[in-house]
């Protein structure tokens, strides 16, 4: 059985050059994921689409990559006690159904020959929208988007539930009501609705959906930030695992893509996560927002190139997506190293 996996087109079918490219790209994606706490999968599926992989393979392999990344990140958050298993289990049902609806939509569109185009357009809208939101908040100094590193260091008792979450908790009181960590009491239906909506997005685009689910957990359910991050990842382990399984049954998961991506991203995520201890994220978030905006434009250019049959435009789109991610990842690393050196000069006798 294992030999068929290794000798099949899924693994040896990927050339050494492509394996190296995937490891490098995984490293870059890992740094961004480890530092910003999101955006890990934003770039993988569009890049695979631009590399001319069929839509189900691009989405399925993107989802399997998200699954592997979530397993690694959940192990870390479990060690930190930041996973609400009750909330995660409730969310799994809604997300699973949502993912299946999204996945069925991809195959339906694929049967009509529209999947690649529709998914690319959805990515343009999504990357553009989230990119604009993150950039706007970063320029305002609100620090929007991704993990708030200072907030993530607080005790769970110190968190204030957002007003909108309080309103939802008091308005929607359809039983069964559930008590979550941080003494949050909310209707199971609110949790399921949030889970379903983000599940559809995950299944359709092959993303973890954390960039929507995390704010939704914080603002719709009222979960403290670290618990939202940890529980989101725990939930992705199951939903992403099932989604990958379903795509895998249709031949949509390519181990030759997922394995090298994961190999690079696991290392990158450690580096990115370590960088959060020494770098002020607010200064860099504007670049992250810019990267998402460039990614949005790049996917658009790639899709126009594909529509016109112009390989130069397709290549330009791919270079822009990968280039933007590489630039922001290097900005994170450069800032981290600079901060470390400044700190070591200021406190020459202090141990770290």
């Amino acid at each position: 059985m294992l030999s068929s996996l290794l000798s099949g087109p899924g693994f040896l079918g990927t050339s050494p050059e492509m394996l190296a490219l995937f490891v490098g790209f995984g490293l870059v994606v890992g740094v961004l994921f480890g530092f910003f706490g999101m955006g890990g999968s934003f770039l993988v599926t569009p890049a695979l689409l631009m590399l001319d992989y069929p839509a189900p393979v691009a989405v399925g392999s993107g989802m399997a990559f998200v699954f592997g990344t979530a397993v690694i990140a959940t192990l870390k958050h479990h060690d930190l006690g930041q996973v609400d298993y009750k909330l995660g289990v409730i969310m799994i049902t809604g997300t699973t159904i949502g993912i299946e609806v999204g996945r069925a939509s991809v195959y339906y569109l694929e049967s009509m020959g529209l999947a690649g185009g529709v998914i690319s357009v959805a990515y343009v809208v999504l990357l553009g929208g989230v990119g604009a939101m993150v950039t706007r908040d970063a320029l305002r100094g609100d620090g929007g988007g991704g993990i708030d590193h200072e907030a993530a260091d607080k005790d769970l008792d110190e968190y204030e539930i957002p007003e909108i979450a309080k309103t939802i908790q008091w308005t929607v009181r359809i039983p069964p009501m559930v008590t979550l960590r941080g003494d949050v009491r909310v209707s199971a239906w609110v949790i399921t609705a949030v889970a379903f909506a983000t599940g559809v997005l995950s299944g359709f685009l092959g993303v973890g959906g954390g960039f929507i689910r995390m704010p939704a957990m914080i603002y719709a359910i009222g979960v403290p930030v670290p618990v939202a991050v940890g529980t989101d990842l725990f939930e992705i382990v199951f939903s992403g695992g099932l989604g990958s399984y379903l795509y895998g049954q249709g031949g949509g998961v390519n181990l030759g893509i997922v394995a090298p991506l994961l190999f690079g991203s696991a290392l990158g995520a450690r580096v990115g996560s370590a960088a959060t201890a020494v770098v002020d994220a607010d200064g860099i978030k504007v670049y992250f927002g810019g990267m998402l905006l460039i990614g949005s434009i790049a996917v658009g250019i790639g899709e126009v190139g594909s529509y016109l049959g112009n390989p130069t435009l397709e290549l330009l789109g791919l270079v822009l997506v990968v280039g933007a991610a590489v630039v922001v990842a290097f900005a994170v690393l450069y800032t981290a190293v600079s901060s470390l050196r400044v700190t070591s000069r200021q406190q020459p006798s202090t141990t770290d």
Binding site: A64, Y245, G248, L267
Partner: protein
């Protein structure tokens, strides 16, 4: 493949997903060990001197 599906048991796909799960565990443990092993040395190298890190 279009339409909603109840997942059916497929040993080859299960093995594929299992391989990704195994890789994730191995990478978590492996990179964790590597970080403990070479992390302090890398920190000294990055900050540029023996006087600073650790």
């Amino acid at each position: 493949m279009a339409g909603l599906e109840i997942p059916s048991w497929d040993p080859e796909t299960a093995l594929l997903i299992g391989a990704i799960l195994l890789e994730a565990f191995v990478l978590y443990v492996g990179y964790g060990g590597l970080e403990r092993l070479v992390g302090p040395y890398l920190m000294r190298l990055i900050v540029g001197g023996d006087t600073s890190a650790q």
